[in-house]
Symmetry: C2
Subunit: 255 residues, 2 copies
DNA sequence: TCGGGAATTGAATTGGGTTCATAATCCGCG
DNA sequence: CGCGGATTATGAACCCAATTCAATTCCCGA
């Protein structure tokens, strides 16, 4: 009986191995030059074995993206479960996304490629399903916060559904991630710190919603304090790197 | 002397032919199945000839996207050149983008693919340069409007540069285009009319900026009237299809 | 009409993703 | 412990479409 389970664990471990090496190879040679044969070779397995895990190269890439989506989802969950006023909770989601984007700068690049019709369509249906499943909690976390905000009277939906409301910040963040990865777009306009700018615009947008209490996005000190507080309370494991290793602190280092 | 020019015209015409057929083939078989040999064959040219125009398949795709970017730029120009209060001008840009997105539903799908590191990097440097050049007026049109708004006192930049300000609506639109093309994302949340929703959120955001005069995005009648007015004044050639052919009217038909 | 440079052609090459016949391994049973 | 069938691993061979380039054709000026 246990033999079947052991086997399953072995398969899962191997899948990890493949994904890890694939990620390494991508970092080394670029997404463009990823070769299935090299992944298999780097793991000391035959090509055929690799293909028992992933039905195609695209399938592997989708798996790679899903992997990281799970990490992202965990951060969003923390924000949604935070006991704090709704406005702070929703902002903490934005902060979570900023932290995630900085810690995993390749994620959105990969995701953009993977969600492309061409790649997405070449992955197996099972894999696609799994990818969506892994992302579900991300949307649900945000949904919950918006819902609570409406319930609490902090946010007047003014004729929109909760889902339609949350599309606003969603698209704002999504667009920024895309822009950040569009070669030379932001440099051209001398935008220095895109994610901090995103934080400001999130406040601008939800101020526009009339989400209470309003927050002045131009108040840099208050913005920093708010981000710092969220890092301390929710993401202290990610923001407070050991001394001499500050590069992950989203307040002191601005992308 | 004229013989060289004639030749150039012929080359340009052939390039058009190639791009047109490629577009046709993509519509027919999908981006996934586009084959260089089929493009050449459909145009009654040898494969080698096709490769004199486009150094690679990716190069052709970038050219295809640039082609449509020029159309988009033209719409943005109209908005920027409109003699109207700054707030109406900036909103007319959003309307332009909505109209464009509806008339060219495949554009953003293609663009998402093309701006992917993998594809972008496989196009020729010249082609990439040209693509950026074609997109420049898009950004500049928006920049001009923001600049005028600040000059006129309609918009207080509150410590941000004009470029940083314009990143807000930019990312909002970009994110929505991405979301619209993410298979099943919006349906899952029952968002019926994404681009109309985008119009509302643009107003929410720039209300958050304090861009005068403020506009109530919940006022559906006023929103419709405003969109209708912009269509009439700026895009009558695109919005007012002949009787019996209303599918392009952005007010009556909502995506 | 001729010569030579430019453009065109498409068969041949290339290269990497994918398959599948074969070999190895595993497992339960007598 | 050894056997037989099932399951899994292997990698050489296959396939397919992008790309190349040597041969050919075309074009123009002399």
């Amino acid at each position: 009986m246990g033999t079947k389970e052991r086997r399953q664990r072995e398969v899962a471990e191997r899948e990890h191995l493949f994904l890890g090496k694939a990620r390494e190879l991508i970092m080394q040679d670029g997404l463009l030059n990823l070769q299935m044969a090299k992944v298999a070779e780097a793991c000391d397995y035959a090509i055929g074995t690799l293909y028992q895990h992933f039905t195609s190269k695209e399938d592997l890439l989708v798996a790679l993206a899903s992997d990281k989506s799970a990490i992202r989802a965990e951060l969003f969950e923390r924000a949604a479960n935070w006991r704090a006023p709704s406005r702070e909770r929703i902002f903490s989601v934005a902060v979570a996304d900023m932290i995630f984007a900085r810690r995993h700068p390749d994620y959105f690049r990969l995701t953009q490629y993977v969600t492309t019709e061409v790649v997405w369509g070449a992955a197996s249906a099972t894999r696609r399903q799994a990818a969506l499943e892994i992302c579900r909690p991300i949307g649900e976390a945000v949904f919950r916060i918006f819902h609570d905000a409406v319930d609490a009277g902090d946010l007047d939906p003014r004729g929109l559904s909760v889902a339609e409301l949350m599309v606003g910040p969603w698209t704002l963040c999504l667009g920024m991630h895309t822009l950040v990865h569009a070669e030379g777009m932001l440099q051209q306009y001398q935008v220095r710190d895109p994610y901090r700018l995103l934080m400001r615009h999130v406040h601008n947008l939800i101020n526009g919603y009339g989400w209470l209490p309003l927050f002045d996005p131009a108040d840099d000190v208050a913005l920093d304090a708010s981000i710092q507080r969220i890092c301390d309370e929710l993401f202290s494991d990610l923001c407070h790197a050991p001394a001499g290793c500050t590069e992950l602190n989203p307040v002191t280092l601005r992308s």
